[in-house]
């Protein structure tokens, strides 16, 4: 809809849509929004790389190839390699039961799956200390059998699994609900077994959602700090993940090294965002092609 507005003073006539703001309002709003984002997002991001490289490339490379840093990278990769597949299997199982069947208490189950998101990271770590720590429920039994979970790698894995439980499930549930059950029912009626139906019908339909959830889950698994910090014991070279190593270096006033290691995590975040955007873009195109946008 277009209205012609005549300004009596200047005598100028221009056209402005009645459902659009004047140009000066638009420009000021964009400017204020970008200023806010620059101050709170872009500058902190850039400063990580600036601080990491401030003392030169040699210092940077030395920091990320130091033995403690390498063992932290290895531990972080190991923890993510266990936590992400576990939550992947859980996410698929949870989404299969919730999206493909009708049963009582479904909404309660969805809320319980989301629960770890609303628990403070510190509390997420503490509850595992209460179960597996020396003072905990299983502590005396574990000590008797010479098993160590808290202040050791299994505790770090458990705490990471806890904080990343919802990621894949909450991507898959709405996706599989929207897809319905007709395709699977057709497969079963035509004689396919349950696993055949899952591998050949369901999985191809949900693979992008699965990947999307796994990428977000992985980013959190590699970056988790609070929960892991409580159960880790901070033993250099053995129970230090990358974020914990950043903290140790920083507290030793070794800022260049701390930011160098932090820049690896910042790169991980940027790659995560790029992949996420790519999948969203692909999904949008796919929807437009299929005409159900």
């Amino acid at each position: 809809m277009t209205t012609t507005i005549t300004f009596p003073i200047s005598g100028k006539t221009f056209r402005q849509r009645a459902t659009e703001e004047p140009a000066w309002v638009r420009y000021s709003l964009v400017t204020v929004a970008l200023l806010f984002l620059t101050l709170f997002l872009f500058v902190p991001l850039i400063s990580v790389f600036y601080e990491a490289l401030k003392k030169g490339v040699d210092v940077y490379l030395a920091a990320i190839t130091a033995p403690d840093a390498v063992s932290a990278i290895k531990l972080t990769l190991t923890v993510a390699a266990i936590a992400v597949p576990l939550n992947l299997v859980f996410g698929v199982a949870a989404a299969w039961s919730i999206a493909k069947f009708e049963f009582r208490g479904k909404n309660l189950l969805i809320t319980l799956i989301d629960l770890p998101f609303s628990v403070s990271p510190v509390v997420s770590g503490l509850i595992y200390v209460l179960v597996f720590g020396l003072q905990g429920w299983l502590g005396p039994w574990l000590a008797e059998h010479d098993l160590k979970i808290i202040f050791a790698v299994p505790g770090i894995v458990l705490a990471t699994v806890f904080v990343t439980v919802p990621f894949i499930a909450r991507e898959l549930i709405p996706l599989m609900q929207a897809q319905g059950t007709e395709e699977e029912e057709a497969a079963v009626v035509l004689g396919a077994s349950g696993w055949q139906t899952f591998w050949q019908i369901t999985l191809p339909n949900i693979k992008w959602g699965l990947l999307y959830g796994a990428i977000l889950c992985n980013a959190r698994a590699m970056g988790e700090f609070g929960a892991v910090s409580v159960v880790s014991g901070h033993i250099r070279g053995s129970t230090n993940t990358l974020p914990l190593h950043v903290e140790i270096l920083y507290n030793e006033y070794n800022f260049a090294a701390a930011f160098a290691v932090a820049s690896l995590l910042a790169l991980l975040a940027l790659v995560t965002l790029a992949l996420k955007t790519l999948i969203e873009f692909r999904n949008k195109q796919h929807q437009t092609l299929r005409g159900d946008a």
């Binding site: 009645a18 964009v30 991001l45 859980f90 628990v119 403070s120 439980v165 980013a219 970056g223």
Partner: protein, 276 residues
């Protein structure tokens, strides 16, 4: 059994639900219940005296006050950012849109040290605030900056889809009836966005209350002044005060559950008002 589940010809229900419940119990429910069961070993007066000492009360005031302020700022600027991203065109918009999720993807420890470096006395931003006598790093103001960063995506990402779905006809009708843009915004658009805005605010607030990693670097962590409740839990744990740490965790958990309930109600309200 017949009333529990509707009939379906698809297989795998028992296996999938059984695994889901087992996994959820082992990973989430049993460990969470440990906090409540261990706290139940205390008497009510013991529990109450632990969770109401002056130092603990100061940490609640700080945690909730600063989280509220940060969520409020995020509500205002999140709405603005969502508006600008949906309604206007500017160069680099797609990159800006993708980067809004940065606080979700960036590990909190990295955010913590980056913000501390920026806002300390000789940092890029801190040095310009120093002449005005404004100290950000190692004060409650620093906590506010960290929590604003952490909560930034929530409001944007809850308001954005609702704003995208608002039909142009509504605004055109308002314009034909003689409303100016501001009136259209306050009377037509804002009421539709409001439930989403509240949901985003509550999500940012809930996240801020539990936040630990980004805050501890910038806070200074002075008891009574800049010590947040999650840090107090860690401090008690490091002093082997398990009862104290657990009691405080239960307080945090109960508050988180109440917030979760409120958020669920807000989302239900949001769905209803966007469908109506």
């Amino acid at each position: 059994m017949s009333t529990f589940k509707q009939h379906s010809i698809l297989p795998g229900f028992n296996l999938a639900l059984g695994f889901t419940l087992l996994y959820l119990s082992l990973i989430v429910l049993i460990p969470l219940s440990a906090a409540f069961i261990r706290t139940a070993e205390l008497t009510w007066s013991e529990f109450w005296s632990i969770v109401t000492t002056p130092r603990v009360l100061a940490s609640y005031r700080l945690t909730f006050g600063v989280s509220f302020a940060a969520a409020l700022v995020n509500a205002v600027f999140g709405l603005l950012v969502a508006w600008v991203l949906v309604r206007y065109h500017f160069p680099g918009k797609k990159i800006v849109d993708a980067l809004v999720d940065l606080p979700f993807a960036l590990p909190t420890a990295v955010a913590g040290i980056a913000l501390t470096a920026l806002y300390s006395g000789n940092g890029w931003i801190g040095q310009h605030l120093k002449p005005f006598g404004i100290k950000v790093a190692f004060t409650p103001l620093g906590i506010f900056v960290a929590l604003t960063f952490i909560g930034l995506p929530f409001v944007v990402r809850t308001v954005q889809p609702v704003l995208e779905d608002i039909e142009a006809e509504l605004e055109e009708a308002a314009a034909t009836l003689g409303a100016n843009r501001w009136q259209t915004f306050t009377h037509i658009i804002f009421p539709v966005l409001f439930p989403a805005l509240m949901t985003g605010f509550a999500l940012a607030f809930a996240r801020a209350i539990g936040e630990y990693g980004s805050v501890i670097f910038i806070a200074g962590n002075m008891p009574m002044i800049s010590e947040i409740t999650p840090l107090l839990i860690v401090t008690k744990l490091e002093q082997y005060d398990y009862a104290g740490a657990t009691a405080l965790s239960v307080v945090m958990l109960v508050i988180s559950f109440i917030l979760l309930l409120i958020i669920n109600l807000l989302q239900w309200w949001n769905r209803r008002s966007t469908q109506a």
